[in-house]
Point group: C2
Chain length 285, copies 2
Amino acid sequence: MIVNVNKKILIVGLGLLGGSYAKVLKRFGFHISAITRSQSSIDFALREGLIDEGSVEVDPRLVGEADLVIFALYPHIFVEWIETNQHLFKSGALITDVTGVKGSIVYKIQEMLRPDVEFIAAHPMAGREVSGVENSTDKIFNGANYIVTPTEKNTPDAIETCMELGRLLGFSNVTTLSPEEHDEMIGFLSQLTHCIAITLMTCNDKEHMEKFTGDSFRDLTRIARINDLMWSELFVANKAALLEQMNLFLNKFNELKTMLETEDIDGMRAMMRHSTERRALFDKP
Amino acid sequence: MIVNVNKKILIVGLGLLGGSYAKVLKRFGFHISAITRSQSSIDFALREGLIDEGSVEVDPRLVGEADLVIFALYPHIFVEWIETNQHLFKSGALITDVTGVKGSIVYKIQEMLRPDVEFIAAHPMAGREVSGVENSTDKIFNGANYIVTPTEKNTPDAIETCMELGRLLGFSNVTTLSPEEHDEMIGFLSQLTHCIAITLMTCNDKEHMEKFTGDSFRDLTRIARINDLMWSELFVANKAALLEQMNLFLNKFNELKTMLETEDIDGMRAMMRHSTERRALFDKP
């Protein structure tokens, strides 16, 4: 479906990601509309040619005309939006999203959705430290992962269309995981790292530390500048998987602490060699 | 003293840091000699013009002629070296170092040292992920901190000379801290961050995570590639201060975990806002 540029795409939620989607897809010639809460976002996107039309209301025409609807909303707003407005979808429309957690969202949406509309979930693992449609850029997709998380309710066509969307957007890796595999992976690689960064940043308020800060501390706390509204919601939406990762981390950290207390040099060195070896796997390709 | 380029400088331990010191100081015209265990390091340094002469033995002439001796050795080797060879120092010589921990080293050395020789400790907070004299470069001092840690045994002259050395080397910030302040600071900013990185890198061995790794995880684990011999020794040499920092981190991490378990969104948001605000202090100037 996606390869046909005569299809109409609606983006709901025009922030950094929604805007960046619009920017790339418009260039391919798709008709792009947007629904978002802020008039200034719509104005910006129209002025910059990111979209063809937009509305701050849930315009029944825009929703009813869309062949593909991409949701870039906070998880709970996404669920509420579907509950309230799904009667407006065109029959046969395909719905996808950018939500960073899957298990707590995907089944709920698929459960409540009209049978003539299909929801195929995706997580574009791209972002910047800045937000808002004004910061939209297609650069964030380069080198990034795009993960489709199908369930048994999804059709092969929808899965392929959603993967094709990821490839069109310019993601370097387009792949599939189950919602559960996705949530474990994201709990470890993304959410646990943010938990660590904000803990490190707030655990010692001694003054003037910044005068001596080197690259190590800066690297570990880059993501300590965090959108509190979004991340607290994402943490709770992935609570079980994240708690499991936090416990794995805590257990290992306590092991290290015990080795230091007992001056178990051999144990620490073994852990450091394991760390050094495993880190090599994670170098940029 | 240091401004007089007729003075002779001896560097003991010609690795990345020792070699980088030599590279800069040679350019100012000082006579630089080196004692290090590896003949190939001496050969390299002579060939590249980093030093004027060098030896793999503790050559009494080189030690006896030096006005300033810079030790770039592992902590326990540094202490043993002084014990064994301090009779060789020229009377009036000034000794300094690059050791990354201070409390457990400085007092011990000053205690045992001949009264006609002064040890003024310093920590150049510079490094790279690679080691060895072959990787020497003056670039690592730019933007970095150089901390002198005097005790009441030190003379104002020696403190000033040591700070002057830091400025000559090109460090951006040259300052003083007590050994105890230094160890607390380094325990938090450097050692705790390495503990976190190696823990994160080894706490979950699930396969194929690297396929989905983004910048956050890479940033937090850059320093998980670690010299196990050196860091395990540095951890133990700063045991009390590091354990205190590990406990501060653990307490805060457990607070966050409890907030997640109880879905205390307000509490998590407050912590994230604190983190975001505090991180701004640590931006590169």
